[in-house]
């Protein structure tokens, strides 16, 4: 199967052909895949080199002239390194952009911690007005990229990952899906975590929700699910554990509830290896998830990971 990242350049290249407002800024990552588009649109496919502050700043300048910039590099260099540019050049200047990241939390484990960004969504949560898409399948990535570029002058983050579910769901860029219904609790799977969550909850009497768009958080969907089931909520996110715990708490502020936030641990593992080894190390494989979900729902203590 191709990856989300494989879809990025073809989709955005078509958007460059269709919409004269679209411009792409790269920082030496992903330039080969845009070579053909760059020949067709030399002024709207820009590679600034390994200069991530300029990546965001130049994107803001493009937006100030009325264009719709799509900015791309690895998550660690797109959100973390130039974070003040994200905060000021986009937010404070009151202009929009589409930030499309690759490498996610640990897509390249052999590359080590320098290329891991489990905190990207949590960082964006400190800012106002960001839409955050976390597709779980290449087809969803394609749909959400189109949504992101078409979203007027909104600030949109699209988090592409090598982790993916076997099948795509029909995502709409807003709503959370109900995948399974039950009475004992609600498990929210975010993006690529869905397959592991479905395996982990096989035979359990729980509702499983699927979110490929986490900001704004679909509070209404969680409230509805919590009305039909016990208001015991487990969030399973492919980035920093607990990133959406506050959003879930806010959604259920006026009803008694419990929330368990599962995801990538804070502690630096200092390990290389493979994706599946890192998934397991953070307790995000089906067996660990099942143990922690059932432990939480039955009221027992939950082993902390990471």
């Amino acid at each position: 199967m191709d990856t989300m990242r494989d879809r990025f350049a073809p989709v955005v290249s078509r958007l460059l052909d269709e919409d004269p407002r679209v411009a792409v800024v790269l920082a030496a990552i992903g330039t080969d895949s845009f070579a053909a588009a760059a020949r067709r649109h030399p002024d709207r496919v820009i590679n600034v080199g390994i200069r991530e502050q300029l990546l965001i700043g130049a994107g803001a300048g493009l937006a100030l002239t009325g264009l719709r910039p799509v900015l791309h590099t690895f998550a660690s260099f797109l959100v973390e390194r130039p974070f003040e540019q994200v905060k000021l050049d986009l937010g404070h200047q009151d202009v929009g952009a589409v930030l499309v990241s690759a490498a996610a939390s640990f897509d390249w484990p052999a590359g080590g911690y320098t290329h891991m960004a489990p905190g990207d969504v949590a960082l964006l949560d400190t800012l106002d007005g960001w839409t955050v898409h976390v597709p779980g399948h290449p087809d969803e990535a394609e749909t959400l990229l189109r949504h992101a570029v078409a979203a007027d002058d909104d600030k949109v983050y699209v988090r592409l990952s090598a982790q993916a579910n076997a099948r795509a769901l029909p995502v709409d860029g807003q709503r959370t899906h109900t995948v399974r219904e039950g009475r004992r609790g609600v498990v929210v799977a975010v993006g690529p975590m869905l397959d592991a969550v479905l395996a982990a909850t096989e035979g359990l009497d729980v509702t499983v929700l699927y979110a490929a768009t986490v900001r704004p958080f679909d509070a209404a969907a969680l409230r509805r699910a919590a009305e039909g089931a016990a208001a015991d909520v487990v969030l399973v996110e492919p980035y920093l554990a607990g990133t959406s715990t506050a959003a879930a708490n806010d959604a259920l502020a006026d009803v008694p509830h419990r929330v368990l936030g599962l995801g990538v641990g804070r502690r630096e593992l200092r390990r290389y290896g493979t994706l599946s080894e890192h998934v397991s190390a953070h307790g995000l494989d089906p067996r660990s998830l099942r143990e922690r979900i059932t432990g939480f729902l039955t009221g027992g203590r939950v082993a902390a990971h990471g």
Binding site: G61, P69, Q85
Partner: protein
Amino acid sequence: MTTTTEERRTYGYADLPRLMGLMTGDEKHGPAATSTLDVLWVLYDRVLRVGPRSARDPGRDRFLLSKGHGPMAYYAVLAAKGFVPVDLLPGFGSYDSPLGHHPDRVLVPGAEIGSGSLGHGLPIGVGTALGLRAQGLDEPRVWVLVGDAELDEGSNHEAIAFAGPAGLDRLHTVVVDNASATHARPGGIAARFEAAGWSTATVDGRDHAALYEALTAAHPGRPRVVVARVEPKYS
């Protein structure tokens, strides 16, 4: 912005100290009180093709004040040129005023960017020049004013290094040099830009004729920097 003839009076360079005094309560502002005053005046009075009526025109020249500290001279010039009503100046820095100690483009008529955190204007200026080029807008020019100490921020050097080889000849930088940088070397500013392929000039930042000449000289195929030297901040 609507401008009525009865409220429009003409302000000149000589009025700027009084306009600045409305913000600071100090009537004795000489030009030396603010390093950027003369550069700003020459730009808005004689160089920039933008006014209150064309402040949203896609074909206007863009002036980006990157050095957002001490913006009284900027507000005074914007007021003198009719962008900002003069009666807003006394509210400078107050809760209900659009005029803060660092400018906010959302609040200040005529301000192209908000600034205050140093090192953001030049990368945004690069993007603005790229965006105009991508839309076939070849006429408008982009000016970014930075301070010499502001160039200590590394983000500027990402922009400087890119703009030269990219041939962004609509992009201009004015460095107001009051020798306030830390670890600076004499001549280092122009040399840095020149090494990246920029057209450079270094002039007396109080000499209006010299500034005008440097700001309007042709520089085909290359971005342009004008280093405007003023009195040292610490002397």
